[in-house]
């Protein structure tokens, strides 16, 4: 590799790409060439840095200067000032939300957002050029595969994973080593090792970032797993909506082939392993392993009952092991550093780290990786920087549409598989959506259920019709048409769907409803009995009213699309509730805060 005095790392992750980081790279390259610096400074498009909120993110090494929200116009200045003259561009340096300090003199790990994080799965994201296998190799890439193939038996590999306590990061948390054991135990000429990259939780992009930022780590883990269970063929089922991930995976597979790290006789050990990519069409249910296999086979993506488990009869009728992307992201590290190292992170029954996609009403939206066992509070308040605009935190939803809402009172719950399940939520794949006082919890339940109703495959009765009926009840409640007995009906349906649906999608679909009833029953009751939305969110249940603060400027009356506001100039105006369509235009227009929701 050539040597450069400086590296400019530009985030090529999901968030930063959509806020224009590709243009930054172009401009940097142009400018460096113009200034004759292109042999001295290298621009690297990396994977996600995690702090999407501050994107597009640019980091300049060796100083480690963290520039946030960089625009194309800023590039010239960074090149001229920082790269040419060695003076940091102060105005662009990231300012910590919590401390309001500029981070000029700090290294990345000292910034609040990163301080409490620990990057194992995301270790290379934002660090290496994901499209360059040499960079992956420079960071110990494929060393674990070499170790497994040349120094370990398949059983030893499985034992190491078992000992590490690694559990599935896709949702259910099944011990990965055990899964591998089952797949190895089935005798067959041909087996498959599948990577589940059908990330579907709304707002979650852990797997996407990992695939985009460190695709070789997944290939390496699949080859290690394939060796362990006796598979010679791998499949990655990835959403077609992740074009960058797909492109980088394709490139990575090609490079790994060139280097002999995939294909026949890897490391001269006689082990053959090849990987194919199958694009999913974006059905949430295809994340369920049997549906995923059906989809790879070209059939309608719907689950089938288990047993037979994939380890016995899976893809194309052959024994198959399926792991989620993030789970695989840990494998090479475990093989390299050992089970004891991995176990030293996290808690006894939840070892290692977990990546979360932090979203919703939170200051630092983005991707975080934390050691298991860390309290939710730390993630939300310290790393996430709390709710914006000084609003009060109300609840956090983990596990996406399959998970549950956790109220403020339980914020000290440690992030562990079993503790989260015990309080009616779940680890899930890592979506973490924060809600503040303005969020109506009945509406939140309705939102998540609306998603599962849409994504139900329609095969089994409870999921196909039951979730739909639950949604209809929730819609009624949020529209002020709730009836006494609705909560009980919701609970009966929810319990029934949980216990009798065919697959995990259905069995977990009622969780958002059950957990919100459990922790926010008063909000349900207010909607049903008092026809009132305590969060002032449900349109049908609120009235816009003009207070004494009105100066009679007439702005609201002019904005009202249905002429519901009347009043003389310089006198307090009045809204005719029979005409009002609750569009909220008046409130947005009023400069004096004289219009309130009630």
């Amino acid at each position: 590799m050539e040597l450069y005095r400086s590296h400019v790392l530009v985030c090529g992750g999901t968030g930063c790409s959509s806020s224009g980081s590709a243009k930054l790279i172009e401009r940097f390259e142009e400018q460096l060439k113009e200034k004759g610096l292109d042999k001295e400074v290298k621009v690297v498009r990396t994977g996600c840095f995690g702090l999407c909120e501050a994107g597009p993110v640019v980091i300049v090494y060796p100083e480690g200067t963290f520039y946030s929200r960089v625009k194309v116009e800023d590039v010239d200045e960074i090149v001229a000032e920082h790269l040419l003259k060695g003076r940091r561009v102060q105005r662009l340096v990231y300012v910590d939300h919590k401390t309001h300090e500029s981070t000029v003199q700090k290294s990345l790990s000292e910034i609040g957002f990163y301080k409490q994080q620990m990057r194992v799965a995301l270790r290379n994201c934002g660090v290496i050029d994901p499209e360059n296998i040499d960079e992956y190799i420079a960071f110990d890439g494929y060393k674990a595969l070499a170790k497994a193939l040349t120094e370990m038996t398949p059983d030893q590999v499985i034992q190491e994973i078992l000992d590490s306590g690694l559990r599935g990061r896709g949702g259910a948390g099944f011990p990965t080593g055990k899964k591998w054991q089952f797949a190895k135990a089935t005798q067959a000429e041909h087996k498959y090792f599948v990577c589940n990259a059908d990330e579907g939780d709304p707002g979650a992009f852990m797997d996407r970032s990992l695939l985009e930022g460190d695709p070789h780590a997944i290939l390496e883990a699949m080859a290690i797993g394939g060796y362990a269970i006796g598979a010679d063929e791998g499949w990655i089922y990835v959403r077609a909506e992740y074009p960058i991930a797909v492109k980088r995976l394709e490139k990575a597979i090609e490079q790994a082939h060139e280097y002999g790290l995939l294909g026949e006789n890897i490391f001269g050990t006689g082990f053959n392993f090849d990987i194919h990519i199958r694009l999913g069409a974006g059905a949430f249910v295809c994340g369920e392993e049997t549906a995923l296999m059906a989809s790879i086979e070209g059939k309608r993506g719907e689950p089938r009952p288990k047993p037979p488990f994939p380890a016995v009869k899976g893809l194309f009728e052959s024994p198959t092991n399926i792991n989620n992307v993030e789970t695989l992201g840990n494998v090479a590290q475990i093989i390299l550093k050992g089970a004891d190292w991995f176990k030293s992170i996290g808690t006894e029954r939840s070892t290692g780290t977990k990546v979360f996609a932090l979203g919703g009403k939170i200051n630092n939206t983005g991707l975080v990786e934390v050691p298991m066992g860390i309290p939710l509070r730390t993630i939300i308040e310290d790393i996430g920087g709390g709710c914006p605009n000084g609003k009060k935190f109300k609840a956090v939803q983990t596990g996406g549409p399959s998970g549950g809402c956790i109220p403020a009172a339980l914020l000290d719950t440690p992030v562990e598989y079993d503790t989260l399940t015990a309080i009616g939520a779940m680890m899930g794949s890592g979506g973490m959506i924060v809600m503040d006082e303005d969020n109506c919890m009945v509406d939140i339940a309705r939102f998540f259920l609306d998603f599962t109703v849409d994504e139900s495959c329609g095969k089994c009765t409870p999921c196909r019709i039951g979730t739909r009926r639950m949604l209809e009840i929730l819609e009624r409640i949020t529209q002020g048409k709730g009836e006494e007995g609705d909560i009980e009906k919701l609970q009966t349906l929810a319990e029934n769907i949980k216990s009798s649906a065919l697959c995990g999608l259905g069995q977990t679909a009622p969780n958002p409803v059950l957990s919100t009833i459990k922790y926010f029953r008063d909000e349900y009751e207010a909607h049903i009995r008092e026809k009132r939305c305590p969060a002032h969110h449900c349109q049908a249940l609120l009235n816009y009213e003009i207070t004494d603060a009105c100066r009679g400027c007439t702005a609201c009356a002019r904005k009202c699309p249905v002429n519901a506001i009347s009043g003389n100039v310089k006198e307090r105006h009045v809204i005719d509730q029979t005409k009002c369509i609750k569009c909220g235009n008046c409130m947005a227009t009023c400069k004096f805060g004289a219009i309130i929701k009630n």
Partner: protein, 582 residues
């Protein structure tokens, strides 16, 4: 020795072979677990969630797909299980039109039965938005009413697996899922073979035959027409079930009596034409053997099979026997031979066929099957439709005296009777071909190698110096398998019998419904076939070429088998059909 598994179901200890499902094991323990989507040997997908049981796992398992395991402790009757089943049933009802009183499946509906069994109290408990669908009644054979569909997918499995046709499947997803043909095409515009196995599989009234009873009632009250009727061999093997007579009882005499009481001028019998078919088809086969014609020759009695061949295996069209199917032969003879003998203008004759089959409704309309601007057969009703007419007419079927068919086109040999079971046409043909070719009398007329419900049956029969290789397939998926083995040169046969429906006509798409629960206890394919084989055994004449009235027909009217006149009236042609019409 079989590997046995010991488990406990509701406290009862049972031992069953490994691989048995909990549903089957429970049956052994005397427990009927309710099912809707399950259909033995056809559909096992665990979708309806009615058969859920508690094994102590996190969620309930579907007994129909759950294999037994040693030490398993299954509970099928707990308050939670009863509640969950009832809720699932009430959910199904919330998207079902519940117009039971006008439903063709009223009192024969598995959903209705389940509501009764599980004690549904409020059909509107989970009332909500219902999907509303147009009824697809454009097919000449099959009507689909998705407003009654519970998405059990039994029809899908029958069409895809049993029949290898696959023109229906789940479309859309979630609450909007419906069973349809691709791109919302009506059944009439896709390569459906009209076999009606989807109807036979349906637990509700979402699928039924296109009604012809009104048309037949109208004919019967038309005094200007001579309305005659002919029931197919398989009808007598199952019609009794509609009137509480045990499955496997032949009701030939009562059926003839009932048809007469309905007002048909003549009650003829398709069995007679079955004997005629053997004369024509047997002669055609001997001709092909002698003259180097296209072999294997394949039977052409089953219109479902014919359309399957025309659509999916058109390469085999030259192999098809040119013989019309028996009821079409009967119709042709009624409108020519009988008309001439009775001095009736054929234009004043109306032939009604009672068939175990829905494809016959399509067949009767084929332009090839007529003469002088008249169709050979005017109306086709299924066994179920006949039962409906008998009930409507107030005829006390079970207590009717036995009556005979009308002479001339009504007497039959035992060979004609067994046409209704898989292997029957082959056996009937062999009885005749053997004696005609060798000039010797058969010692034993039973060719048991071609009997039974094995999907594909083979036999080699010595006819004189020649070893005749024959094969029998029933259900078009089995037919496809058999034809593939012929196509790729794996197998060589002289003569093949193919019936479109599994089991042959006795379990055709127009036969009385047999519920999924009942199919777990007995096999209608076996029991109904047995009724026909018993009737055959008791017949004084058991070979088609010994049917006296058929021989008179040749003497008086046709000349000899495969004569020019016979060809004109009793043989037909086929057309290659596209798989995709639009």
């Amino acid at each position: 020795m079989e590997n046995l598994v010991k488990l406990t179901i509701d406290g009862v200890s049972v031992e069953v072979p490994a691989g048995t499902t909990v549903l089957e094991a429970a049956k052994k323990a005397g427990i009927n677990i309710p099912t809707l989507c399950y259909l033995k040997d056809i559909n096992q997908i665990g979708a309806c969630r009615m058969c859920i049981v508690d094994t102590g796992a996190r969620a309930f398992g579907a007994a129909c797909v759950l294999p037994v395991a040693n030490g398993m402790n299954v509970k099928t009757n707990t308050p939670k299980i009863r509640e969950a089943r009832r809720v699932n049933l009430e959910l199904l009802l919330s998207n079902h039109d519940k117009k039971c009183l006008e439903c063709p499946r009223n009192q024969k509906c598995e959903l209705q039965q389940m509501c009764n069994d599980l004690g549904v109290e409020d059909v509107d408990k989970y009332k909500g938005k219902m999907n509303q669908y147009d009824i697809d009644d454009l097919s000449p054979s099959i009507v689909r009413d998705n407003n009654k569909c519970i998405l059990c997918r039994r029809c899908v499995a029958a069409c895809n697996k049993t029949q290898a046709v696959g023109v229906i499947g789940p479309m859309g997803r979630g609450f909007k899922t419906q069973i349809r043909s691709p791109w919302d095409q009506p059944l009439n515009d896709v390569a459906c073979i009209n076999c009606g196995q989807c109807i036979a599989a349906c637990p509700t009234g979402a699928l039924y035959e296109k009604d012809s009873t009104k048309a037949v009632w109208n004919l019967l009250s038309d005094t200007t027409k001579h309305v005659v009727v002919q029931p197919a061999p398989a009808v007598r093997a199952a019609l009794g079930e509609e009137f509480g007579i045990p499955m496997g009882t032949s009701v030939t005499g009562k059926m003839a009596a009932a048809l007469r009481r309905l007002g048909f001028e003549k009650v003829f019998d398709t069995d007679w034409a079955a004997d005629l078919t053997i004369m024509e088809e047997g002669t055609e086969f001997i001709g092909r053997l002698k003259n180097g014609g296209v072999l294997p020759m394949i039977t052409s009695c089953s219109p479902g099979w014919i359309k399957f061949c025309e659509t999916y295996y058109p390469d085999f069209i030259p192999n098809l026997s040119s013989c019309k199917s028996p009821h079409e032969m009967e119709g042709a003879m009624i409108k020519s031979y009988w008309a001439q003998k009775e001095g009736i203008d054929p234009k004043d004759i109306r032939v009604v066929s009672v068939m175990p089959c829905t494809a016959k409704k399509f067949e009767a309309k084929r332009p090839e099957l007529g003469h002088d601007g008249m169709q050979d057969v005017d109306e086709v009703i299924t066994t179920r439709e006949l039962a409906k007419m008998i009930k409507e007419a107030g005829i006390d079927f079970a207590n009717l005296p036995d009556e005979d068919f009308d002479p001339m086109l009504g007497e039959s040999s035992g060979a004609g009777v067994i046409f209704g079971a898989t292997g029957g046409v082959m056996e009937a043909a062999l009885r005749t071909v053997y004696e005609v070719v060798t000039g010797k009398t058969l010692d034993k007329v039973d060719f048991t190698a071609v009997r039974g419900i094995e999907g594909v049956k083979e036999a080699t029969i010595k006819v004189g110096d020649l070893d005749v290789n024959v094969a029998v397939a029933h259900g078009t998926a089995n037919a496809a398998k058999l034809l593939d083995s012929v196509k790729n040169g794996e197998k060589t046969y002289h003569f093949i019998e193919i019936m479109g429906c599994p089991g042959g006509c006795v379990t055709g798409g127009g036969q009385p419904f047999v519920s999924a629960q009942k199919r777990m206890e007995c096999d209608p394919k076996v029991l109904r076939a047995q009724a026909l084989y018993t009737e055959d055994a008791n017949k004084p004449v058991r070979k088609s070429h010994e049917n006296a009235s058929v021989n008179v027909l040749y003497k008086e009217f046709l000349g000899e088998p495969n004569s020019h006149k016979a060809h004109e009236l009793l043989h037909t042609t086929y057309v290659k059909r596209p798989k995709y019409t639009k």
